[in-house]
Structure formats: structure tokens, C-alpha cells
């Protein structure tokens, strides 16, 4: 089976990614884009931040370059570096530079996870200069008007040791996400997993109850993404209780008693 590939800067979403607006986030994002302001998406895991960015890149017809940040990600990994190719040393643009040059949307997912030097690199892109310095190459790339920088940030994860500095936070327009309302979440589940109305309502009810445990031992509640997984397994023929156990209960906690209480909540619905 052949696999098609294309250059990152040429990649554009051909089909509209499914997205149901929760509030006024689309209008806010579009306004920020028009004003050339960088955007920070805040919210718990799996609430739809990435899907929202995909949707906006389709809506604005911009290339989307997503970087999943991790603790080993350096500024060089983002902007680019010299690499050996055969007998030559050639410059290789990093994903951020690629996005800037392609006038696309650069989405740095969980940016706080990356090394501190990466946040310094993005600063000149986030103010009125809108430039990306390539220090090793001795160049400065001016970002086109269409370029948009988006970062995501999960406040629930952060600790004293790992948090965005205020000097970074205060450069972004923040759009806050939370879990969708029950009605919207049911709509999302039915659309994304193909489950019936009753099962969707039950899954959402389970999520609502489990999310009540967030301050009682659970770090995060059940994400909409996990509910979609549960719905997909149920659609594929897995019994609801084992499907929910595998997607809702086991991934979010290793605490045996917490798991049991979640299973009891699931069993109450199904």
C-alpha cells in the first residue's frame, strides 16, 4: 500500500475537521488572527484544543505545523540547525521556521514542557516585531501577516517548577477551554463515535460524575476524547462496561480504590 507524503509547508487540511463551538472561541481566534496577535489555548487534556486549532487552520486556509513539546525539545529543534548531508553541511529549518516561512499556523502543544530557551525564541514572534531570529545562521525571518502562533497550556499540570513565566504568558490572547456542556458533549460523542442518543447521554453522565472527583484524588477528569474512545469501542461491539473501564477508568488513575469507585459509577449507568 502506497503512502502519500507531502512537505509540511504544503500541507493543508482538505476536509473540515468536526468542531462544535463551546462559546465565542472562533470569533476570538479570528479577531486575534486579524490583529496578528498570538493565541494561548488553556484547558484540560482532551477538551478539544488541538481539534480547535485544526478547525481554525482549515477555516483560515492556513498550513498547520504542530509541535508536540517535550522536555528534551530545544530552541534549535524549533528554529532549525546545521546538519550533515553527504559531504555537505546544510541548514535544516525547524518546524517553527517552516511555519513562519509558509505563513501558516505554528501550534506549540504543551509548550511549558519544552526547555526554557524555547520560550525565549518565540518572544520576538509574539510582539509587534513578529520576527524569528535564526542565531546560528545569522538571519532574521520576518513573519508574514498571515502567520499565526498558537500555544496550548494546561494549568492543571503545572507546578512551581514547571510553569510559564509571566513575561511569556502576557504576550498571548488567552482562550480558555473546559469540558463541553452535557448537550454539546452528547452531540460530539454521537458525531465522532456513531453511538446512539441514550448511550451518549449515559457516557456524558458518567463523565460528569467522575469529573466531580477532580479535587478528591483525580488529577484530571475524563476528557471528551476518552468518551469518544469509549463510544468508538461500543460502536465496534465492545460491551459498555468493559469499554468504559478501558477508556474512562484505567487511563485516568492507578489508584485501585479510585478505579473501583469509577467502575461503580459506570455500573450505575449501564
Amino acid at each position: 500500500m502506497g503512502v502519500e507524503s507531502q512537505r509540511v509547508e504544503d500541507y493543508k487540511l482538505a476536509k473540515e475537521p468536526y468542531y462544535v463551538p463551546l462559546h465565542n472561541e472562533i470569533e476570538l481566534f479570528e479577531a486575534a488572527y486579524e490583529s496578528k496577535l498570538p493565541v494561548m489555548l488553556k484547558g484540560p487534556t482532551g477538551c478539544g484544543k488541538t481539534r480547535f486549532v485544526e478547525h481554525m487552520s482549515w477555516r483560515l486556509e492556513r498550513t498547520l505545523v504542530t509541535v508536540a513539546c517535550h522536555e528534551d525539545l530545544t530552541a534549535s529543534d524549533l528554529v532549525g540547525k546545521y546538519t550533515l548531508r553527504g559531504d555537505e553541511t546544510v541548514w535544516q529549518d525547524g518546524p517553527l521556521t517552516t511555519a513562519v516561512k509558509a505563513a501558516g499556523i505554528a501550534y506549540l502543544d504543551e509548550v511549558v514542557e519544552a526547555r526554557k530557551d524555547t520560550t525565549v525564541v518565540i518572544h520576538p514572534l509574539t510582539d509587534d516585531r513578529r520576527v524569528l531570529p535564526l542565531e546560528k545562521k545569522g538571519e532574521i525571518v520576518q513573519a508574514p501577516d498571515e502567520f499565526q502562533l498558537v500555544i496550548s497550556y494546561n494549568p492543571g499540570y503545572q507546578s512551581v517548577l514547571k510553569d510559564l513565566k509571566h513575561s511569556t504568558k502576557q504576550r498571548f490572547v488567552a482562550i480558555e477551554f473546559d469540558y463541553p456542556t452535557p448537550e454539546i458533549e452528547e452531540t460530539i460523542l454521537r458525531s465522532e463515535s456513531g453511538i446512539d442518543e441514550d448511550t451518549a447521554a449515559k457516557l456524558v453522565k458518567i463523565a460528569e460524575k467522575v469529573r466531580n472527583l477532580r479535587t478528591h484524588g483525580l488529577e484530571e477528569g475524563v476528557s471528551t476524547r476518552l468518551l469518544v474512545y469509549a463510544g468508538q469501542l461500543i460502536t465496534d461491539g465492545v460491551e459498555p462496561i468493559p469499554a468504559c473501564e478501558a477508556t474512562i477508568c484505567k487511563p485516568i488513575t492507578d489508584d485501585v480504590e479510585m478505579q473501583r469507585s469509577i467502575i461503580e459509577i459506570i455500573a450505575t449507568q449501564f
Partner: protein, 361 residues
């Protein structure tokens, strides 16, 4: 050729060549003579066996008798001298001066024996023999004394250990009693006393275990008593195994406990129920055991009071379901404020009724 039973072990001293050198008609008497001398000392027999064939070859029985007698005389005072005399004497018999052999034997015997007036050696030997006899007689008593010493030392160590564990028990009991629910204290003390008199170390283990069993409602006081009785039987057979039983470290102890258990203890599922009810109610609830709360506390709006033990069903799973239903009911009451009485609302209702029906209402 066989020599018969009289020959005994003489074959050990007599080589085939020696026997062949003895005239055939004298071989039986040769072997007997060698054997008799050998009884004095093995080495003496070996030497006599070497020398006798040449004397027997001369067919002079008197010479042979004289040889054997002189060898015996010297050997009586010292067997090593006897061996040397047995070796040298046949050559001296052949000397022209016949008195030479006798003089030689006399000198060697005297030299070996020492001065005749020395009686001290005999006295010392006699005394030693008496002492050795007495020592031999004492030997079983010494052995028994050693056994008793060992047994007493072991008892000392055991008693010391017992006293040490008694002190530890003395220190451990008051805080345990403070934690134990008052109604369990009398039966608890009876059970710990029983075990402590049998083995303080085991009672230390049991003191903690019984606290958990009773406070945790894992067994009733009667069940605990039965569990202790079974443990005492184990302790009686083997102290170490018994101690393991009382710390719930043996399979048997757990089996007995399982047998005596009368239901599902709230303590074992309280956290699961708390999380479950908190999730349902949408705010933190507190699961309380009916055994631990008084009526005033039970009225607290965030409390869900459940029985300390659920024993409606034989299976724990069903008993848990019963708990779950009760917890869900409690969560519903908390979530929807069933008992959250507001005096303001009553006042409003009274005003409303008064305006509707007049002051008389």
C-alpha cells in the same frame, strides 16, 4: 595349607618364607608360640616370628624355651626393650661364653626396670589408677551436669526474652486500649491475657491484630474469642507458628478469620463508597460508621451514616451492593438538600399563609 582355629591372627606376623624355614613338624608349635608372645605386644610377636625359625632349626626345645622366657622377662618391664632383646638374643646364644646371653638379658632388664628401691612410681601409678577409676565413675554425672547447665541456660534465655516481651506488652497495651472501642475492651483484655500467659511475644502480635479485627468490625467479639482459641492450640504445638498465626501471617489464621467473618466491614470499603458518593453528590461527603457516631453527629448534612458491617447476604459482593445503594441514597439526599431545613423559608411560608387566610391562620 590351613592352620586351624588355634592359629588366630598369627598370619599377620608370619610371612610365608618364615613358615617355610620352620621344620614341618614344628610349624604348629611355632605358630602357637608366636601367637602367645604377640598377645603381650604385636611388635614383639613380629620379632619373635622372625627369630624363632633359626632356633627351631637347631631342634633344641630347651633353647627355644629359654629364649621365649628371657624375651618375656624383659618385655614385662618394657616391651620396646623386649623387642630389641628378641632380635639380639639368638646371636648371643651362639657365643662361646654361655653366660653372655644371661648377663645381657639381666643388664637390659635392670636398665629398663630402674632401681628396685623406687616404690614411688608404683604408688603414683596406683593413685592414678584409683583416680582414673573414680573419674570413669563420675563421667555420667559430669555429662548430666552439663546437660542440666545447658537446659538451665536455655530457660534463662527464654525467661529473659519473656520478661523483655512482657515489658514491651506493658508499654504497648495502654495506647492500644485507648484506640479500641470501649465496648470491645473487656473481651479484648480477656483474650490478650490468655495469650500473654502462654507466650508474651505472641500476645504482642495478637494485641495489634485483635485491635484491627475488632475496631475494623472484621469479626465480632465472639468470633475474636474463637479465633484466639484456635491460635492458642497452634501456639501450644509450635511457638513460632503460633506467633505467625497471631500476626495474621499464616494461611490458617486467615482461613479461620474468613470462616468467622460475619459480613462486609464498612471500613474495608469506606473510601470506595466515599468516592462514589462524592462523585454522585458533586461535593465531598463523609462516610461514617453507625457504631462511631451519635445522633447529633448523624444529623450533619454531609454525613452518610452506614452500618459498621453489612451482613444481609452471604457474598461480600452483594453486601457491597447493599452499601452502594445506601450510599447512593445518602448522596441523593445531600445533592438535593432533602434535610437542609431553612427557617427563612418557613417564615416566608407562614407570612404567605397569613396573607392568604388572615391572622388567625
Amino acid at each position: 595349607m590351613t592352620f586351624g582355629p588355634a592359629v588366630g591372627n598369627v598370619g599377620m606376623y608370619v610371612a610365608r618364607e618364615m613358615l617355610q624355614a620352620v621344620p614341618e613338624d614344628q610349624r604348629q608349635s611355632y605358630l602357637r608360640m608366636v601367637e602367645e608372645v604377640s598377645e603381650l605386644k604385636y611388635q614383639l610377636g613380629v620379632e619373635v616370628a622372625r627369630q624363632l625359625p633359626r632356633l627351631l632349626a637347631e631342634h633344641d626345645p630347651e633353647l627355644v624355651a629359654r629364649y621365649l622366657e628371657q624375651v618375656r622377662d624383659v618385655a614385662d618391664v618394657g616391651w620396646k626393650s623386649g623387642v630389641e632383646v628378641a632380635k639380639q638374643l639368638p646371636d648371643l646364644y651362639g657365643a662361646p661364653d654361655e653366660s653372655l646371653a644371661d648377663a645381657y638379658v639381666q643388664i637390659v632388664a635392670d636398665a629398663t626396670h630402674g632401681p628396685s628401691e623406687d616404690t614411688e612410681t608404683d604408688e603414683l601409678a596406683g593413685e592414678l589408677e584409683t583416680l582414673e577409676r573414680e573419674l570413669r565413675e563420675m563421667e555420667p554425672k559430669v555429662k548430666r551436669a552439663q546437660e542440666l547447665r545447658t537446659q538451665l541456660a536455655a530457660r534463662d534465655r527464654r525467661d529473659e526474652k519473656r520478661r523483655k516481651h512482657a515489658v514491651e506488652l506493658a508499654s504497648a497495651l495502654p495506647p492500644i486500649l485507648a484506640r479500641l472501642r470501649p465496648r470491645y475492651r473487656p473481651p479484648y483484655l480477656t483474650q490478650v491475657r490468655q495469650i500473654a500467659s502462654a507466650d508474651p511475644e505472641a500476645s504482642l502480635e495478637a494485641a495489634d491484630t485483635l485491635l484491627d479485627l475488632l475496631n475494623g468490625d472484621r469479626v465480632s467479639p465472639e468470633g475474636a474469642a474463637e479465633w484466639v482459641n484456635r491460635g492458642l492450640d497452634v501456639l501450644d504445638r509450635n511457638k513460632e507458628v503460633g506467633r505467625g498465626y497471631f500476626r495474621l501471617g499464616s494461611k490458617y489464621a486467615l482461613e479461620v478469620l474468613d470462616e468467622l467473618k460475619e459480613g462486609l466491614a464498612l471500613k474495608s470499603v469506606a473510601r470506595v463508597l466515599k468516592l462514589y458518593a462524592t462523585a454522585l453528590a458533586g461535593r465531598e461527603v463523609v462516610i461514617r460508621s453507625a457504631a462511631d457516631v451519635d445522633m447529633a453527629e448523624a444529623q450533619n448534612l454531609d454525613n452518610i451514616v452506614l452500618p459498621a458491617e453489612m451482613r444481609y447476604f452471604d457474598e461480600d459482593e452483594k453486601n457491597f451492593l447493599a452499601y452502594k445503594v445506601a450510599a447512593a441514597q445518602g448522596a441523593g439526599r445531600i445533592e438535593f438538600g432533602t434535610y437542609s431545613l431553612s427557617l427563612d423559608r418557613i417564615s416566608d411560608t407562614v407570612s404567605e399563609l397569613q396573607s392568604q387566610y388572615g391572622q388567625a391562620a
